[in-house]
Amino acid sequence: MWVYEKKLEIPVRVSIPDVRMAARLITQYGGPDGELSAAMRYLTQRYTMPTGMTRGLLTDIGTEELAHLEIIATMVYKLLDGATIEQIKAAGLDLQYAVRDKAVFFQSPTGEPWTAAYIQSLGDPIADVHEDMAAEQKARAVYEQLMRLTDDADLIQGLQFLREREVVHFQRFGEALDNLQEFVERKKVY
């Protein structure tokens, strides 16, 4: 069961509208290594995990990723808020605008819709947790790439937080993997 809290996990600030940056940032909303992929991957893998630790961790990190999804949406929303048609055209994003104005949507910066092909749940706990660790590294790398694309100190601060959370999540998944490997070994002893 999910319950919503009417507040962001952290304050989100942008210094100035930036249509181009919004269009790039959307990769962490609906792109392959974004927060939707992370949330959906963890929240669906958890059903076939064998231990309370992995079920709990996937539920909790998956839920936090939904909060991060909201942060990205807020960043995109604020970056587009107040942008004029001239600014949108100048950024070459009138194609986007024609389809959906300033709406936030699940797609990559090049327009591919989000797909479950970005994620996997194999039902094999060891394989699944390795995928989760890889996912966190990919997200971390993408945040670093995005931070290099902007000079907006406020925006960078928000992206920095999201990057740091990926590092912590990676750490937690590593610990869960160790525990899982012990569990699997113990089960083999008859």
């Binding site: 507040k7 996990e9 630790m53 937690r172």
Partner: protein
């Protein structure tokens, strides 16, 4: 949309306290026997509950689906929504 400084200050304290709880929650998921972390978590939890109660009484509900009571008119649908707040 801006909110009054006192509301912002309380909201910031809630975000900070809750973040401590979230981070400790994840840590405890993989370190279930860590006494110190557990104490810190429970401390943050109590503090968070008090802060949220204060916020709700002054500024309206932060949670839906029965987590908090409301006055009339139904306050949940009122502004500001999180993505509108100017920090």
């Amino acid at each position: 949309m801006t909110i009054p400084p006192e509301q912002m200050a309380l909201l910031r304290r809630i975000q900070e306290t809750q973040f401590v709880a979230v981070d400790l929650n994840l840590y405890l998921d993989t370190h279930p026997d860590d006494q110190k972390a557990l104490c810190d978590y429970n401390g943050a939890s109590l503090q968070l509950q008090a802060l949220m109660q204060e916020y709700e009484q002054c500024y309206g509900p932060l949670m839906h689906f029965g987590q908090e009571a409301s006055r009339l008119p139904w306050a949940w649908i009122e502004d500001p929504w999180p993505w509108d707040i100017r920090y």
